[in-house]
């Protein structure tokens, strides 16, 4: 693509940068404690909480490990654990 005008047609292409590498701690969820309130999903600044049929998991490709999900979890179902690299 010829660089003209700063136009980008490939929308959402920041996905090409996997920001998961920025992480020190990663979130881990205990579904036993989860009450499906959706707090972790709605507050995630990196769209990295995957919510599916009441089940929650994380997209570690992009999760920067900010810990908002763990902090906002009303039941302490999410823990931040040190990333093993």
């Amino acid at each position: 693509m010829r660089p003209i005008g700063g136009h980008v047609k490939d929308i959402g292409s920041t996905k090409n940068l996997k920001t998961g590498g920025w992480r020190t701690f990663k979130p881990v969820i205990d579904m036993e404690k989860c009450i499906d309130c959706g707090s972790c999903w709605i507050f995630c600044p990196d769209m990295s909480v995957i919510r599916k049929d009441g089940e929650y998991s994380f997209n570690y490709d992009y999760c920067k490990g900010c810990g908002i999900c763990a902090n906002e979890c009303p039941t302490e179902a999410i823990k931040m654990v040190l990333e093993e690299k």
Binding site: S39, D46, P74
Partner: protein, 327 residues
């Protein structure tokens, strides 16, 4: 932070208590969150700091407004982190032009959509940070609102020029330390109160003006929906913490935003055609000290100054909720 001590009670709670309707300490919250669109119009891979409040403000706004939206954005963190050429985090048509003209650019977009017969059903949103809104972009915003364009302006307010490394803006609160309002031997930080931008917008006769917080996503998204649905100008001022700028750990940005509301530093309300309505009344009024001590930018404040801030908050609280002290 454990919020729900008694999970069975939480799950069974069916009280329609307005107080907690919008906070995630309520069962109703989890039910309403299920209604929120799964569609992500702002992509991961953006370069914002971990725990960025501004990103949450954008993400939630787009969830509310939907894919049928065209947005303009002023220069700032959210522009830099979202559009590193040749990539973009935006999945809606989006444009960045300069720092001070997001509202003017959006007026051009709105006029063009009209001229091309494409305006029907398309929401036009202009995003700006607090610097791009209350300071350098003030004139363009004032003009656009006064002209009555059918558009929504959303100011995500992190209370300083964070993109350039935390300099004071007109939206920086009293006492806050920034690199241009440092605390020193003879100074305690920012000497002036925060500019009351929502009131200025109300004075413009803007059809719909609302304040919001990223810690209250349902309240915020409901307001965005209202704003874009209105056939005319609308303004939303959403408090969006900046973790380095406020001096908080990355996981605390929602907690601090919530505390801002619970202590009365930030009020959630809307003004529809001049009629003001408080949209969230905290059940327990938290001391301002809790909010201030949580953040590095306020940590230097003396008891005297904290009491002064508390007194101002009390006065505003009384005006807003009609009660002087709850705690």
């Amino acid at each position: 932070m454990k919020i729900v001590e008694d999970i069975p009670a939480y799950v069974k709670c069916r009280h329609v208590c307005r107080a907690n309707l919008y906070s995630n300490r309520c069962w109703k919250f989890s039910q309403n969150i299920k209604e929120v669109s799964e569609e992500e119009l702002f992509s991961y891979g953006h370069r914002a700091c971990a725990g960025c409040g501004g990103t949450i403000a954008l993400r939630l706004a787009l969830k509310a407004s939907g894919a049928n939206t065209v947005a303009s954005q002023c220069t700032g963190c959210m522009e830099v982190v979202s559009s590193p050429y040749p990539q973009t985090a935006w999945k809606i048509p989006w444009i960045h032009v300069a720092f001070e003209n997001s509202a003017a650019v959006a007026s051009g977009i709105e006029a063009a959509l009209k001229a091309l017969g494409k305006k029907e059903g398309v929401n036009v949103i202009a995003f700006g940070g607090d610097g791009g809104t209350v300071d350098i972009g003030f004139q363009a915003l004032s003009g656009a609102m006064e002209r009555g364009h059918n558009m929504t302006y959303i100011c995500y307010d992190n209370e300083a020029y964070m993109n350039t490394g935390i300099q004071r803006s007109g939206s920086t609160p009293f006492g806050a330390v920034t690199t241009t309002s440092p605390a020193g031997k003879v100074s305690f930080g920012n000497k002036r109160p925060k500019k009351d931008m929502p009131s200025i917008m109300v004075a413009h006769g803007v059809d719909y003006v609302a304040t919001a917080s990223v810690a209250f996503p349902l309240d915020y998204m409901e307001k965005v929906k209202k704003a874009v649905a209105i056939d005319g100008p609308a303004y939303i001022h959403v408090l969006a913490p900046c973790t380095p700028g406020w001096g908080i750990p990355s996981e605390k940005s929602i907690e601090v935003a919530r505390l801002a509301v619970d202590c009365g530093m930030w009020l959630l309300y809307e003004v529809e055609k001049g009629e003001m309505r408080v949209t969230y009344t905290p059940t327990v009024k938290k001391p301002v000290r809790d909010y201030l001590k949580m953040q590095k930018r306020f940590r230097h404040l003396s008891d005297e100054l904290i009491n002064k801030i508390q007194a101002e908050v009390d006065e505003r609280w009384e005006k807003t909720f009609g009660i002087r002290k709850i705690f």
